[in-house]
C-alpha cells in the first residue's frame, strides 16, 4: 500500500516530466534526421557537447539565456560537422556517429580540465539556473499543481517543440521535403529540390534540439557539470525514436514511457530495489518492438 502510494504519487509524475525533457529534445532531434534519411548514432556525444558548451557560456556570462543559445549554436556546429561527413562526403554514418560520441566525451572531458582545471564535476556560483515556471492558479490544485507547476521553462519549450515539429513535418513544404529526402531522395531531387540542403536544414534543427536537451541537464535539472553527465540519455533517446518509428507523436509517448520507467525506478531505489533493470527496459522493449515491426514488414513484403 505504502509502496504504491509513493510510486504513483504526484512527485513521481513530476519527476517523469523532468526526466522526459532532455530525452524529448534529443529524440525529436533524432526524428528529424531519421526522417531526412540520416541515422545519427552520435546523439549522446552531441548532447554532451551541448551540455558542456552551454554550461561554460553560462559560467562566463552568468546568463542562462546565453547558456541556452551557446548550447544550441555549438551543437549545431558539431551537427554540421557530422553533416559535412555524412551528407557531403557520404561517409559511413555509423562510423561518423561513433566519432561524434567519442569526440563528445573526449572533448568535453579535455576542455573541462584545460579550461577549469577540474576533474569529475564542476559547479560555480556564477552559473545561473534556468528558471522554473510557477503556474498561478494551477499550482494550488493538488496533484496537477505538483506535476505541472514548477517545471523548467524548457519543459514548456519541449512541448512547444513537439507541436511545432508535428506541424512542420506533416503540414509544411519543408516537412514534405524532409520526409521525401528520407523515403526516396531521388524523387525529391527529380522534383528539382536540393536534397543536401534539406538535409542540412534538418541537421541544423537536429543540433538545436539536442543542444536544448544537453543544456537542460547542466543548468536546468541540476546546476552542475559532471563528466559524461548525459549517462546514456542520447542512446535512450535513440531507442525512443526507434520505438516511435521516427514519428514525433509516437516518439513523444515513448519518451514519456521511458521517463516514467526511470522515475519509477529511482523511487523504487528508496525501497532498495536496484535500478539496473529499469535502466535496461527502454533498450529491451525497443529491441522487442523493432523485432516485431521488422518481422511484420518482412511478412508483408513477402506477400
Amino acid at each position: 500500500m505504502n509502496v504504491l502510494t509513493v510510486l504513483f504519487s504526484a512527485a513521481t509524475f513530476a519527476a517523469t516530466l523532468r526526466m522526459a525533457v532532455p530525452l524529448l529534445f534529443v529524440a525529436l532531434g533524432g526524428v528529424l534526421t531519421k526522417r531526412a534519411g540520416i541515422e545519427n548514432i552520435g546523439l549522446e556525444g552531441l548532447m554532451l557537447i551541448g551540455c558542456f558548451s552551454g554550461f561554460a557560456a553560462n559560467y562566463f556570462t552568468s546568463n542562462w539565456i546565453v547558456g541556452i543559445l551557446a548550447a544550441m549554436a555549438v551543437t549545431v556546429l558539431f551537427a554540421l560537422l557530422f553533416g559535412l561527413f555524412v551528407v557531403q562526403i557520404r561517409s559511413h554514418e555509423i562510423v561518423a556517429g561513433t566519432a561524434m560520441n567519442v569526440m563528445g566525451s573526449a572533448l568535453t572531458t579535455y576542455l573541462l580540465r584545460s579550461m577549469f582545471g577540474v576533474k569529475g564535476s564542476f559547479t560555480d556560483e556564477r552559473v545561473r539556473t534556468i528558471p522554473n515556471i510557477s503556474l498561478p492558479v494551477i499550482k494550488d490544485i493538488p496533484v496537477l499543481g505538483t506535476v505541472l507547476s514548477g517545471q523548467s521553462i524548457l519543459f514548456w519549450v519541449s512541448l512547444a517543440a513537439t507541436a511545432i515539429i508535428i506541424f512542420m513535418l506533416y503540414r509544411t513544404k519543408l516537412g514534405f521535403y524532409i520526409r521525401a529526402a528520407g523515403e526516396n531522395e531521388k524523387a525529391l531531387a527529380s522534383a528539382g529540390v536540393n536534397v543536401k540542403k534539406v538535409r542540412y536544414i534538418a541537421l541544423i534543427m537536429h543540433g538545436m534540439l539536442i543542444g536544448l536537451g544537453g543544456i537542460y541537464l547542466s543548468t536546468g535539472y541540476l546546476t552542475q557539470y559532471v563528466e559524461d553527465m548525459t549517462a546514456g540519455r542520447g542512446f535512450i533517446a535513440m531507442a525512443a525514436y526507434a520505438f516511435g518509428m521516427a514519428r514525433p507523436g509516437r516518439t513523444f509517448f515513448a519518451v514519456l514511457l521511458f521517463a516514467f520507467v526511470q522515475a519509477l525506478s529511482s523511487r523504487l531505489q528508496i525501497f532498495g530495489v536496484p535500478s539496473y533493470f529499469a535502466d535496461m527496459i527502454p533498450y529491451a522493449i525497443t529491441i522487442l518492438v523493432l523485432a516485431v515491426t521488422s518481422y511484420r514488414e518482412m511478412k508483408r513484403e513477402r506477400v
Partner: protein
C-alpha cells in the same frame, strides 16, 4: 500537322565513357505529337541517348534542338524547363505520400506558417488527371498502388511540370500485359492531344502496336529511322541485331540419350499463395537442349527457383540422374545442376570476392576439394588457373577482385565455373540478356559444346532468335503451364509467338483452367 515540325532534333551525338563509345554520331529526330520508339538491344546506347536529351548526361559532341531552337541540356532541370519529362524505369516516388502529394512535390504552394495548401494540391492533381485522362485517386497512398498505377503517377508528375515531350524508359518492363495495353491507350491519347512521346524499348511487338516512327540503334549507332506503316517485325529485328547476330549454331554431334532431369507434374505457389507453376512436366535428355520459351513473367523464374530448391513445390517431383531431389536443400541440388543465372552480375558473381573465390564457389564445400575443415587451396588454385587459361579470362592473377575485370570477362567467370562444375545438367537463364553479341556467341557456343558432350541442358529464353538457334525441343510456358511442345524445325516464329502469347494451345493442355481456380 506539317511534316517538318520537329519537337526534338539530335545531331551527331557522340558520348564516350573512357574508351567506350556509347553513342557514335547519332542522328535522331522526333516529330511533334508523334509516338517515336527507340529500339535496340541492351547496351545499344538507347538510355545513354535519352539521358543526354534529358540533361542527365552531357554529350562529348553534337547538337540538340528542341522545337527548332538549339539548346544546351545542362541539367534535368533545364530539360524540365524546356518541357521535357522523363519516366524512369525505377519510379521516383515517395511511398508514404498520397498520389497528389507526389505529383506536386517540389511545386507546393505554401500558405500561413509555410503550411502546404492541401486543397490546392488535390484540386490540381484532380484537374491534371482529368485533362490527361489518366484515371487515379489523388488521395490514395502511393505505397498501396499497383505498379501500373505508380507509373501513372510518374507520368502525371512529368505532366504537372508542363512536359510536352515525354520520354519513357522501358515502361512495360514492370507491367502486366493488361497494364501495358492501358498504358498504350494513354500514350495514344496523349499523342492525340499534341504531346510528343519517346518510348525506349526492346520489345518489337509493342513498337509495332503503338509507335508512329521507329529509330533503331545498334552498338551506339543509328541504323535508321523507319515509318511503322512501312516496316515489319523481321526488318526491325534484322536491323537491331545486324548480321553478326545471325546465329550459326555448331553442328549437333552425338545423340540424345536418357532423361537426366525429369520434372514431373510440379505445382508451386509463391509467398502470396498464388499458383505460379501448374502441373509442369518435362524431361531433359543427355545431349539435348530443351528450351522453355515464353514471355517473361509466365513462371520461368519460379521454375528455376523450384529446380534449384529456393521455392518448395506443392506437388509433383523433380528427379535428377535417377535421384529424387524434390526435397533436397540447395547445396545438395547443386551437385546435380549447374546454373547460369540471367542476372550474372549479382546472382552469378560475388564482385567483391577474388576471381579465385568466384571460380570455386559451390566446389569449395565438396569433399574432393577440401582437406577437413579447410579448402585445398593448392588444388583449387590449379583448377582456377586452368579455367582462366581455357576460357581466356583476362585477369591480373586470380587473387584480384572480380569487380576489377571487364564485364565480358566477368561473364566468362560465371560460364567457366558452372560449365566445370562436374554436373551433367545445366540450367541456363536468358544467356544473351544484357551482354553484347560477342559475349552471347561465346555463351551459345559453350552451351552447344556442353550439349555435344552429352549434358542435359535446360534453356530458359524469351528471345525467339535464341530459341530457334539453340533448341532441340521447345516447351512453351504460359501463365505457369506448359502449353505446347514444339520442334524448332516444324514451327515458324509466328506460330511460336501465338503459343507464347497464349493465343494457341496444344490439345489436351488444361493447366490454365485447373490452375485458374486456385
Amino acid at each position: 500537322m506539317s511534316e517538318n515540325i520537329y519537337a526534338v532534333e539530335m545531331e551527331d551525338i557522340c558520348k564516350s565513357f573512357g574508351a567506350v563509345r556509347a553513342n557514335r554520331n547519332i542522328n535522331f529526330r522526333v516529330l511533334k505529337g508523334e509516338i517515336h520508339a527507340i529500339v535496340g538491344e541492351n547496351g545499344a546506347g538507347k538510355t545513354t541517348l535519352m539521358n543526354i536529351l534529358f540533361g542527365a548526361l552531357q554529350p562529348t559532341s553534337g547538337r540538340i534542338r528542341i522545337n527548332g531552337q538549339e539548346v544546351t541540356m545542362s541539367s534535368p532541370n533545364k530539360a524540365i524547363r524546356l518541357g521535357i519529362g522523363m519516366v524512369h524505369q525505377h519510379f521516383e516516388l515517395v511511398p508514404s505520400f498520397t498520389v497528389a502529394e507526389n505529383i506536386m512535390l517540389g511545386h507546393e504552394s505554401a500558405g500561413k506558417f509555410g503550411a502546404v495548401d492541401k486543397a490546392e494540391i488535390y484540386r490540381h492533381a484532380k484537374e491534371l488527371a482529368e485533362e490527361s485522362g489518366l484515371k487515379i485517386d489523388p488521395y490514395a497512398k502511393v505505397g498501396t498502388l499497383s505498379v501500373g498505377l505508380r507509373q501513372r503517377v510518374e507520368i502525371l508528375k512529368a505532366l504537372s511540370c508542363g512536359a510536352q515531350i515525354l520520354i519513357l524508359d522501358e515502361p512495360t518492363a514492370v507491367l502486366t500485359p493488361n497494364e501495358s495495353d492501358e498504358l498504350f491507350e494513354v500514350l495514344r491519347r496523349m499523342s492525340a492531344q499534341g504531346k510528343t512521346i519517346i518510348l525506349i524499348t526492346h520489345k518489337l511487338k509493342e513498337v509495332m502496336a503503338v509507335a508512329d516512327h521507329i529509330t533503331v540503334l545498334r552498338q551506339g549507332e543509328t541504323c535508321g529511322t523507319l515509318e511503322k506503316a512501312k516496316t515489319n517485325h523481321m526488318e526491325l529485328a534484322a536491323l537491331m541485331m545486324g548480321k553478326s547476330a545471325a546465329f550459326s549454331p555448331l553442328e549437333k554431334t552425338g545423340t540424345t540419350g536418357e532423361a537426366l532431369l525429369r520434372v514431373d507434374h510440379i505445382t508451386a505457389r509463391d509467398s502470396s499463395r498464388l499458383e505460379k507453376l501448374k502441373n509442369v512436366t518435362f524431361d531433359v535428355h543427355a545431349g539435348q537442349i530443351l528450351t522453355i520459351a515464353g514471355v517473361e513473367g509466365n513462371g520461368q523464374t519460379e521454375l528455376v527457383s523450384a529446380l534449384l530448391g529456393f521455392l518448395p513445390v506443392a506437388s509433383g517431383s523433380i528427379t535428377a540422374l535417377g535421384t529424387d531431389i524434390t526435397k533436397l536443400p540447395v547445396k545438395d541440388r547443386r551437385n546435380y545442376c549447374s546454373y547460369i543465372p540471367e542476372d550474372r552480375m549479382t546472382t552469378g558473381l560475388d564482385l567483391a570476392g577474388s576471381v579465385h573465390d568466384n571460380l570455386i564457389a559451390g566446389l569449395h564445400n565438396r569433399p574432393e576439394w577440401r582437406k577437413g575443415a579447410f579448402i585445398d587451396y593448392a588444388k583449387t588454385g590449379r583448377h582456377v588457373d586452368s579455367l582462366i587459361d581455357a576460357y581466356a579470362i583476362k585477369t591480373d592473377g586470380s587473387g584480384i577482385a572480380a569487380s576489377s575485370l571487364s564485364g565480358g570477362n566477368q561473364q566468362k567467370i560465371v560460364v567457366a565455373r558452372e560449365m566445370n562444375f562436374g554436373t551433367k545438367i545445366l540450367i541456363v537463364s536468358q544467356p544473351s540478356r544484357g551482354v553484347d553479341i560477342g559475349a552471347t556467341r561465346f555463351i551459345h557456343e559453350q552451351i552447344i559444346r556442353m550439349r555435344n558432350e552429352g549434358c542435359a541442358i535446360l534453356l530458359i529464353s524469351t528471345d525467339l532468335d535464341e530459341v530457334f538457334a539453340l533448341s532441340d525441343e521447345i516447351k512453351v510456358i504460359f501463365e505457369g503451364s506448359i502449353v505446347g511442345t514444339l520442334s524448332p524445325d516444324a514451327v515458324t516464329p509466328q506460330e511460336l509467338g501465338l503459343y507464347m502469347t497464349g493465343a494457341k494451345k496444344m490439345e489436351g493442355v488444361s493447366g490454365t483452367q485447373e490452375g485458374g481456380a486456385a
